[in-house]
Amino acid sequence: MKRTQLILLIGIAVCIGVLLSFLKTTSTYDTVETARKKPGQFVHVMAKLDKSSPIQYDALNNPNYLRFAAIDSLGQRMIVEYNNAKPENLEMSDRLVLKGRYSDSVFLCKEIQTKCPSKYKEEEAKGLKHPGSVPLPTTQP
């Protein structure tokens, strides 16, 4: 199979080329601090919702504007803005993957991925915090 072998080789070469150029378009995982250092660049920031600050979202006035604070694992905090509806389970998420760009002291988020404890970790069950599992008695004997 001579012609086909040649075509196979070309195909493999194209594959390698495409995958290499794919690597060039990839982005990076960053912390709040490193994201801040490269404003305008598309990054992934792993963080948690800062529950001490209020989530600003008013669907009546503008269902496409969400603003909240996020803290990364190093304790760095940033303000996040998101021009879309509030993700369904923002409050109950224990981790967020924020995809967007840092600009003018605000992280402009393009996509938010929420990671929920019930779905991703078994450990959460150990604390039995999940309602409906075991009602803990309120009084000690």
Binding site: N62, P63, A85, Q140
Partner: protein, 819 residues
């Protein structure tokens, strides 16, 4: 020792799991002995033992399945799996879904599917039973280890679905269930009484697709084992060529079922998840698509071999890799390695090593045999003719294979990170990173599937070729013009180059569709039994066309033009959510949309929102019920399920993206007072308000209003930013020396107004309060999806074509063995 525990199902289940392991090992060994023994009677007795082993194994797996169903049905929460994946409020069909929500249950489903296919092989494989079934039994053995749940020298082997809740560690952190409220003490004997309900099935999975998609998909997964088993069975026994006939129906079956399984995942995503589509190039999706693509490649090289004697090695490699990538995808989706990159990856259950071992135990020996023996595999050393059908079929198979390699290469980024310690994240536009490559493969495949049927094996006379293909080309030309005129490709966000590629892909798909449909008459003379291939190609072309058109022309119709305009980021297209206030019609695309009512599911906190769509020309009217779990089981937030109105040529599709928090009832907003003169204008959040001339009424009954009683009426017009105007008349009375304002609530505006004072100078004090607790509203996102039905229909048609071919090939094989 513990009150109320039902222990026999667990013990029986463990026993069945061990029996399944032992019986499959026995079947594997006995089948291997059948292959090795030369003496006829010895072979027969080994085969008999092997069959008994396999039957026992299948019975054990069914026993495990029904035990688990029994436990879930009876809500035996002393079992960890039952507690974790079900609850008392689940309907029966979702109890089934609970079985395969978790890792253990889905392996069980896989085992079941493989067991059933094994039984069919015993009936149909004839002379190939022993080598093929020894590999199938070996696979059953390996999968059985996944649900055995044993600890051997500190190694955790598999994870049992019959683990007790009290052994799972879940209760260790609950002192209330332990003696003396001390978690280090044993459990109290009646701990079970305190466990009133299970953890439940994830509400997103409480959907009929969760009942049907996993069984079909796992049947597809299981079916890829069989071409692998035939190919490797052939290599190991050195019967390199005669397995190609019996494998053919199985390869066709596998492609059909796996394809439908993947499609059902897409339908599920489209109909019940809210990422607004059927395919997102998510790693979990890709992981099941890749084996399908490789399977299609193998299917075609197999045909090439049967007609020309070429491409046997490629066929073997494709069948081995098809199964190999099923194992790899199992590792990807279950090891937790996908982590951040996938929306719906499973948890890592601490079985990563075992999952890697599963790949190794199949792929390393296969690679070893193939490298050692590849020279023995017959092949023909001739230059192939480019007018021959097999040449272009081979190119097509290679394209399928390269497509698969590219997809899995991009998907494996997290694996790459893990191996090399890098932290590369997916690109900004993940979907485009796949689309921009795959569109070219789609174009080439559409072309190839279009003209290859018009070529003959070995060599084709060009005159005949052009004569026969001219009719489909002509029809394509006409339809292409029609397509450009009526439908077209609107997607231009990625530039002209990509848009052109989409156009070409659409036209080539039309060509393929027409050419293959015509071939049923031109080439096969309408013989249905023989036209499986052409039908499958028509379906495939239709699928490609629908994918291109649907994705390119999908429109968000819930563009928001009421709220504040926010500054948009570069290249962003937000404002896709629209808030509907109850009973107030809003513009949405060519519809007036009204949120009319809501209702709640009798047993769960599942809310349905009745939303009426009425087209502006008045010809079309329908009601959709998008629904959402609101603060489900005390967890804040909502989980939405869309609803869609299906037409033959498009869908209108909507889902809830935001709701007022039902637990937030208290109205804390206060009136803000504004002093205005008649004729003045003041702004509020959704527009402005104009005040008219006050009207005094003073001839009032003295017994009610006292001396000098007055009523002041103030006409107010409210101008919404959308252009609508509403008028109300505020009233206040001066009665018995008291000022009594009458607050007026304007539902639609979410506003309360009252006339607080009328001053001597003629100015008025008006109190305005805006509050969202007044309002019932729902925020939606809505899409117009053109031609989506064609996508589903295309895949069904592909599967139907494949199954027609399968039937024919199976009949041929059985017939040949009867004589």
């Amino acid at each position: 020792m513990y009150i109320g525990e039902l222990s026999w199902p667990g013990q029986l289940g463990h026993l069945a799991a061990i029996l399944s392991l032992v019986a499959s090992a026995l079947a594997c060994f006995a089948y291997a002995q059948t292959v090795r023994s030369n003496e006829l009677t010895l072979r027969a007795s080994w085969q008999r033992i092997a069959r008994v082993g396999f039957y026992l194994q299948t019975i054990s797996v069914f026993t495990i399945f029904f035990l688990l169903l029994y436990l879930i049905h009876n809500h035996r929460f002393e079992y960890h799996y039952v507690w974790k994946h079900s609850s008392k409020s689940l309907e029966f069909k979702y109890l089934l879904a609970s079985i395969w929500e978790g890792q253990e249950g889905s392996f069980l489903l896989w085992l079941l599917a493989q067991g059933v296919l094994g039984l069919l092989l015993i009936r149909t494989a004839k002379g190939w039973e022993a080598p093929v079934m020894s590999i199938v039994s070996f696979a059953q053995f390996c999968l059985s280890t996944m649900i055995i749940g044993l600890s051997i020298l500190g190694w955790k082997l598999g994870s049992s679905p019959f683990l007790l809740l009290r052994d799972s560690g879940v209760l260790d952190g609950a002192p209330a269930l332990h003696i003396d409220f001390d978690a280090s003490q044993p459990l109290i004997p009646n701990y079970l009484e305190k466990i009133q309900d299970g953890n439940d099935l994830n509400p997103l999975l409480q959907n009929y697709w969760m009942v049907i998609h996993p069984p079909v998909l796992f049947l597809g997964f299981a079916s890829t084992l069989i071409p692998f088993a035939f190919a490797m069975g052939g290599v190991i026994t050195r019967r390199y060529t005669d397995w190609v006939k019996p494998v053919q129906p199985w390869a066709l079956f596998s492609t059909a079922v796996l394809g439908v399984g993947i499609m059902m995942g897409g339908m599920w995503a489209y109909e019940s998840l809210t990422f607004g589509g059927y395919w997102a190039w998510d790693p979990v999706e890709n992981a099941s698509l890749v084996p399908w693509l490789i399977g299609v490649a193998g299917l075609h090289t197999l045909l090439i071999y049967r007609h020309s004697g070429q491409a046997l090695r490629s066929t073997i490699v494709f069948f081995v890799l098809g199964f190999g990538f099923i194992l790899y995808s199992t590792f990807l989706t279950r090891s937790g390695i996908l982590g951040e990159t996938s929306v719906h990856a499973f948890t890592g259950e601490g079985m990563n090593l075992q999952l890697l071992a599963l790949i190794a135990v199949f792929m390393i020996p296969s690679a070893w045999f193939l490298i050692r023996r590849h020279r023995e595999i017959p092949q023909i050393q001739t230059e192939e003719n480019i007018s021959a059908r097999e040449f272009w079929m081979y190119i097509g198979s290679l394209l399928f294979f390269l497509s698969a390699i590219l997809i899995i290469g991009q998907t494996s980024l997290p694996v790459f990170n893990k191996i090399f310690g890098t932290t590369i994240a997916p690109p900004e536009d993940v979907e485009f990173s796949y689309n921009s490559v795959q569109i070219y493969i789609a174009i080439m495949l559409a072309l190839l599937t279009g003209f290859t049927y018009y070529l003959k094996y070995k060599q084709t006379g060009m005159d005949l070729f052009w004569k026969r293909i001219s009719i489909p080309l002509l029809i394509t030309l006409l339809l292409g013009i029609g397509f450009a005129w009526y439908i077209g490709i609107r997607y231009d966000q990625k530039g002209l180059g990509f848009q052109t590629a989409l156009w070409i892909a659409a036209i080539c798909s039309i060509f393929s569709l027409i050419a293959n449909a015509s071939y049923i008459w031109i080439g096969i003379k309408g013989n249905l039994a023989k036209s499986g291939g052409a039908i499958a190609h028509v379906g495939f072309a239709l699928t490609l066309l629908a994918i291109v058109v649907t994705s390119s022309n999908k429109q968000v119709i819930s563009e928001n033009n009421t709220g504040f305009l926010t500054p948009l980021g570069k290249g962003e297209n937000p404002r896709q959510n629209l808030t509907l206030v109850k009973d107030i019609p809003s513009e949405m695309g060519r519809y007036k949309v009204t949120y009319e009512q809501d209702s709640v599911h009798p047993k769960k906190k599942l809310w349905y929102y009745k939303v009426r769509f009425k087209s502006n020309d008045g010809k079309e009217e329908f009601v959709l019920y998008p629904n959402a779990f609101v603060n489900y089981k005390g967890q804040q937030g909502l989980m939405a399920n869309p609803d869609a109105k299906h037409y033959w040529d498009h869908d209108v599709f909507t889902y809830v993206t935001s709701l007022p928090d039902p637990d937030k009832k208290e109205d804390t907003t206060r009136f803000t007072s504004k002093t205005v003169m008649p004729g003045d204008t003041t702004f509020y959040s959704k527009g402005f308000i104009t005040f008219g001339q006050p009207n005094l009424i003073d001839s009032l009954p003295v017994e009610l209003f006292g001396e000098g009683g007055q009523v002041v009426e103030l006409p107010v017009s409210i101008h919404r930013r959308t252009g609508e105007t509403a008028t109300v008349t505020l009233k206040a009375a001066w009665a018995k020396k008291q000022w009594l304002p009458l607050p007026d609530t304007m539902q639609a505006e979410g506003m309360i107004m009252q006339l607080e004072e009328q001053k001597k100078d003629g100015s008025l004090v008006v109190g305005i309060k805006e509050s969202d607790t007044l309002l019932k509203y729902v925020t939606l996102k809505a899409f117009h999806y053109p031609y989506i039905q064609f996508l589903w229909f295309g895949i069904w048609l592909t599967a139907a074509g494949l199954l027609i071919s399968m039937r024919r090939r199976m009949q041929q094989w059985l017939q040949a063995n009867r004589t």
